[in-house]
Subunit: 222 residues, 2 copies
DNA sequence: TAGATTGTTAATCGATTAACAATC
DNA sequence: TAGATTGTTAATCGATTAACAATC
């Protein structure tokens, strides 16, 4: 039912960070220009697709030369707002929550978790990776006062909807949901589901097919 | 370049675990049958799409009655092998690695991380969530002896390719990669990328567009 | 029976891929 | 200049959505 309103296709949106990492590494090695052919060889993607993707950055390449890497990096940073900082609240200080609290990589993406919430009194009051764990009751008030717009949900699935309700009620505009449930939120609130089980399902299925396929090839080869 | 060999479209593959969780919850509440209309309302998906997705399980529904939930659950379990156990090795005991080692949910998906590896001598020899951390040098030998087919990569991006090489060399057939790099592996080895930056990028972009869109709506309303 | 709901076939939509002219 | 590489337009492909007959 969900409609993508962004002018950039979601698959492209997902590939852009990958280009970014790649280009950054290449740039740091001292390279200044790069062609789609070259990128495609390293990233195992179709050069035409890369050209299409990169066109959304607004940066034009030069025939025979390729793209200026620095310009691309700047454009992608600008596009995603990697040089601004989006502050977020996280709810659910379990294993996954902790991992996200400790993930230094977020600063590269202009993303910062500034407080964590949990209902477990043993956790409340503690600090994890220099981020305070507060009681969930404080969420709404703090959220409004700090004007936080992004919420991260890392609670067990049974509690996810309840947490989402609190977030919506507190003015959160975007939810990054790690619980395997479809959250019910008003349409103006954006939800991005990060469902670990989906990735795992795809992986195991691919392995099954790949093994079958390769054993067949062997049989044929006999 | 990658070709999907599975007979089931990847989007469907990704939605099936979500149906599974939902159906399980509904079944535990005592319900025995369910229609696509009903599922669609709860999961905010198109009923026709759900029907299409569920058709891949081989379970047929009855007009006016819907699907037998228990049969669907069984079929999805069978389909993904949730009742077998796939053993895996994890490399990289940082924050994310730890979180995965401690994630109890995996047992539901027939997935089990049986050993962890790291190059940090301070970690080697310790146990994290009852899983031993071993030196990376032991990977190849143990992997072959235990016939492990799945590897999880949670090392920093600079080391990911090196780890992937070790995995391939050791007979790993599927890699679940959490580092934001495109791994180079032989074509018979399957890689599933779980790129956190991509999800985040999609979320922040959606929020931007959504905010713009909603403020426009307000303007129009004036 | 009447109507909810299924499964299937056809139409639409969007992303990827192919073809090709433009140009550094 | 010749050729690598770009950007664009058209063709293909695959998934989603719409239409509808079948049926419990």
């Amino acid at each position: 039912m969900e409609k993508q309103v962004v002018g950039v296709p979601e698959p492209t949106l997902r590939r852009l960070p990958l280009y970014y990492h790649y280009l950054k590494a290449v740039f740091e090695k001292g390279r200044e220009h790069i062609s789609c052919t070259h990128i495609g060889r390293d990233l195992d993607l179709d050069p035409v697709q890369i050209r299409k993707d990169l066109s959304f950055t607004g940066i034009r390449g030069l025939p025979k030369v390729g793209y200026q890497i620095e310009a691309l990096l700047g454009a992608i940073e600008e596009f995603f707002g990697y040089n601004r900082v989006d502050e977020a609240f996280l709810v659910g200080v379990g294993n996954l929550g902790r991992a996200l609290l400790g993930y230094e990589g977020f600063s590269r993406y202009g993303f910062k978790i500034v407080a964590a919430f949990d209902q477990n009194p043993d956790l409340v009051g503690s600090e994890i990776h220099q981020i305070s764990v507060l009681p969930i009751e404080k969420f709404a008030d703090l959220c409004r006062r700090m004007q936080i717009k992004i919420g991260v949900i890392t609670v067990p699935e049974q509690q996810a909807q309840k947490v989402a309700d609190i977030m919506v009620e507190s003015g959160i505009k975007g939810i990054w949901n790690f619980a395997p449930v479809a959250l019910k939120v008003p349409e103006e609130v954006v939800v991005e589901n990060e469902i670990i089980a989906s990735g795992l399902a795809v992986l195991t299925k691919k392995i099954q097919t790949s093994l079958r396929f390769n054993s067949k090839k062997q049989e044929v080869a006999k």
